[in-house]
Point group: C2
Chain length 137, copies 2
Amino acid sequence: MTRTVALSAIVLAAAAFLLEQLEYRFVLKTLPAEGYIALVAIGFAALGVYAGRRLAGPAPTGAFARNDAAIRELRISTREIEILEKVAAGGSNKEIARDLAVSPHTVKTHVSNLYQKLEVRRRTEAVDKARRLGMIA
Amino acid sequence: MTRTVALSAIVLAAAAFLLEQLEYRFVLKTLPAEGYIALVAIGFAALGVYAGRRLAGPAPTGAFARNDAAIRELRISTREIEILEKVAAGGSNKEIARDLAVSPHTVKTHVSNLYQKLEVRRRTEAVDKARRLGMIA
DNA sequence: CGCCAACTCACCCTTTCGGGCGATGGCGTA
DNA sequence: TACGCCATCGCCCGAAAGGGTGAGTTGGCG
């Protein structure tokens, strides 16, 4: 994000420099001052729109940013997150157990521990809360 | 959204007019041309950022756009969507029944019908699929 | 080396879910 | 009017999930 800001600033500066050069070489000689000003205004408004969109956040790329802080805070282990994701994907305990090559009971234990840490009593509730906290996508 | 576009255009036009007036009255007389150009550039870049954010839509504010097409396609009723949302929020059949002031069995029926329409067998699966299809947030 | 956290597994019991059967009243449309 | 969709409600039963208690293994850390 910070890099995006710097990049935008550099692009804007470069554009300003270019425009200034253009002023003396071509435009001012063929256009009235108002026309040149208008061009600058339009150009920078466009640049502003572009920069603003980049700065507006993860709208298009939509890469999910996991909230590790919350995960650490609630002392949720990596294995638990792994299972939490499979629960959120709609897996039953038995299916998840097969996926991870462990006993169904082990999955049940992990899920149970997740309930305590998330302070919920049902898997749909757990998924909802974990999603709100940004632990899963 | 369309109104926002028009509004932004009007604001930009007004600003351009104002700046042009300012040019003749004050600025040009005390600043070199480059300074004035820079001011215009900065101003319009800022306006562009603002307008761009408005136009970029609800990226940060995150207003959810429901996929009505998918809902119609799968013939999911409004009541079913209502219940689907409560299921996604982690409610049990009994809780949802209380919320909607109906019998737990009625909720169960709606949920069952949802499973058939979504082609799933569990509520976590239903929530996941509905979310992927954009039916719920 | 001893402790702790994480991961693993098991039995028992209650609650919730899900599937299958069926049923009624309202409402819009073919 | 008859048919279809929607919303509502019921019972039965098997599957899944959830709660409690207990316990074994491993790896890291003081």
